[in-house]
């Protein structure tokens, strides 16, 4: 049983509302921050915590904050609640069940950054969550934690929720800012980074929901206390959204460093593979990160047990490792078809490419097309190498990371499951199936 920071009070009846949240220590961090701390002190605590951005990239939050251009008096904090990386459904959980945690985090973080206006950009499909979040914001206003002269300190902050329109790319921070300005979600060329020129050309920090939701705890307990949790390189806790072929899909808060085997098989977490089947593979950090075959998920290539942390999941680099990413933990059992899954992911990235950069716009479409024919029994001998070639030509050649995100799953799936691709090309009659989850691997000798 690890430490709980975000979900400590999640089971308390009524925690979604202001009163119960407040009774359980809610908004203490705002009181402490605005009355007794300077913005720089808060930034330093977050730096000391070594909190790494929970959206997927894992960039240290405190460092990101320290880049903000303080020479401009108009600065913004924007929360990225555009959660749409396949396999990821953790931010939604915070907003749905404990929305005040995000609101409180927005207030202390805005104060630290010197922002007087902040926006929560939420994907439009979450429209059923808007009333829940708006109610929490209204309650915070009614109790003097938002608006003019917060707690009599002279600090002003307005907080608004903005609706997206349905586009995965808007999870990329500069595309999100474009969208918030009422435009297509086309990522911007960096530099300048948002900390210098962000929303409306003003210094802006964009942080994931989970990162912001951690900041009240850090303000209350200190960055050093946070850094004591988890591992040295991955301090703290992380929400993992577990899905796929497991007994207990859902959102779990784990202390980073938990053994992967325990996370996957213990009843406290995923509860093992559903239907008594065997583990085949796992995408441990959202659809963009490399897929790992079961044996490399549980142990590194060197044979050491893997744990749930940034450094352990990436041990072995892309050859034999993966990434913690967003914490979207997708488990595949023995009847999952890796080829069909890859075709599905390729189709996703093709659909979601904004179209600005030709390697991504065209390349994702080519990969989808080639994977479609392999999966449907019309693959050619050279197709597997062709896929690897296309992926290589996308990777690193685009403005934003969507290109990389589309390329990595292809390269890793072929690296680890080449046999399955070869079978689809050479002996389609042996691997005929209709769905993602009804694949039966033929015994290799028949092939």
């Amino acid at each position: 049983m690890g430490a709980k920071i975000l979900l400590e009070h999640i089971d308390k009846p009524g925690i979604r509302g202001y009163d119960v949240y407040r009774q359980n220590g809610g908004y203490r961090a705002v009181e402490k921050a605005v009355k007794t701390m300077t913005p720089d002190e808060i930034v330093n605590e977050v730096k000391t915590s070594v909190l790494r951005g929970r959206g997927g990239a894992g960039f240290p939050t405190g460092l990101k904050w320290s880049f903000i251009d303080k020479s401009n008096p108009t600065r913004y904090l924007v929360c990225n609640a555009d959660e749409s990386e396949p396999g990821t459904f953790k931010d939604r959980y915070i907003i749905q069940y404990i929305p005040h945690l995000l609101v409180e985090g927005m207030i202390v973080s805005s104060f630290a950054l010197g922002a007087n206006t902040a926006y929560i950009y939420m994907r439009g499909e979450f429209r059923w969550l808007f009333p829940i979040l708006q109610k929490a914001i209204d309650e915070a206003y009614a109790n003097g934690f938002l608006g003019k002269n917060i707690l009599g300190t002279g600090y002003n902050l307005d907080l608004y929720v903005q609706s997206g329109g349905g586009a995965y790319i808007c999870g990329e921070e500069t595309a999100l800012l474009e969208s918030l300005e009422g435009k297509r979600g086309n990522p911007r060329i960096k530099p300048p980074f948002p900390a210098i020129k962000g929303l409306y050309g003003c210094p802006t920090v964009v942080n994931n929901v989970e990162s912001i939701a951690v900041t009240p705890w850090i303000v209350n307990n200190g960055g050093a206390e946070y850094a004591k949790l988890g591992t040295e390189k991955s301090p703290g806790t992380k929400l993992i959204s577990a899905c796929g072929n497991i007994n207990k899909p859902g959102v779990y808060e784990i202390e980073l460093g938990l053994p992967v085997e325990e996370f996957l098989y213990s009843d406290e977490y995923c509860g093992g593979i559903a239907g008594g089947k065997q583990l085949k593979a796992c995408v441990p950090g959202g659809s963009s990160v490399p897929i790992l075959p079961g044996e490399l998920l549980l142990k590194t290539a060197a044979g050491t047990p893997r744990n749930m942390s940034y450094e352990s999941l990436s041990d072995g680099g892309f050859a034999t490792g993966s990434m913690l990413g967003s914490g979207g933990f997708i488990v595949f059992d023995e009847n999952a078809c890796i080829v069909r899954n890859l075709w599905n992911f390729a189709s996703f990235y093709h659909h979601e490419s904004c179209g600005q950069c030709s390697p991504c716009r065209e390349g994702t479409g080519w990969m989808e097309k080639v994977l479609h024919r392999i999966e449907h029994g019309h693959g050619n001998q050279g197709d597997i190498d062709l896929l690897v070639d296309i992926a290589k030509k996308i990777e690193g050649n685009t403005i934003c990371p969507l290109g990389d995100a589309a390329a990595w799953p292809v390269a890793s799936a072929i690296r680890h499951f080449r046999d399955e691709f070869e079978l689809h090309v050479k002996h389609p009659e042996l691997v005929r199936h209709h769905y993602m989850n009804d694949y039966v691997a033929p015994a290799l000798h028949t092939a």
């Binding site: 939604r92 329109g165 297509r184």
Partner: protein, 180 residues
């Protein structure tokens, strides 16, 4: 076609939204206002509707068209009374979404992108809705319908067919019809 104009209460919402942004940045209100427009004008954005939104925000019509065509939630063609937005992304398929999609298509006699002859349902597939642990799933209006089975799909369709349309979005079908 009657005059395209927001109802006064919607217009009040529009004005409140515009106030969230700094002076001269009213274009930021475009996405939220397009959602309101779609809701008010038959669930899709016809060109005159987009032109109307452009006039409210003092921007060029093309600025509205390019946004409306970029984001998947805006319908640029007429749709049925209820749009079934069915998730087709990998994690949902691992737990049987493709089979449920086949079932829906067979049950309604339509393919993805089509509308039933009675104008009741349009079937759309969508990419990941952040419900991966609770798939297969689809969104209809404001609700996520999760852990779909064939039997649950039947009950959902019955609910929509047998409920007074003016009440559908004002009650929570998950509790009313025991759908979850």
């Amino acid at each position: 076609m009657s005059e395209i104009k927001f109802k006064p209460e919607t217009m009040a919402q529009v004005e409140a939204i515009i106030k969230r942004y700094p002076e001269g940045r009213q274009k930021s209100a475009l996405l939220p206002i397009l959602h309101l427009a779609q809701e008010e004008f038959d669930n899709w954005l016809d060109v005159p509707v987009m032109d109307y939104v452009a006039s409210i925000l003092s921007i060029e019509p093309i600025e509205v068209y390019e946004v409306a065509s970029f984001y998947t939630m805006y319908n640029l063609k007429p749709v049925g009374k209820y749009v079934l937005e069915f998730c087709k992304t990998g994690p949902c398929c691992l737990v049987g979404a493709e089979k449920i999609q086949d079932y829906i298509q067979a049950k309604l006699g339509i393919k993805v992108g089509e509308t039933t002859a009675d104008g009741m349902f349009t079937l759309k597939t969508v990419e990941c809705m952040a419900a991966c642990g609770y798939g297969p799933m689809m969104q209809v209006g404001d609700h996520y319908y999760e852990r779909l089975t064939e039997e649950k799909v039947d009950r959902i369709f019955d609910y929509f067919r047998n409920t007074d349309p003016s009440k559908v979005y004002k009650t929570d079908p998950l509790t009313v019809a025991g759908l979850n």
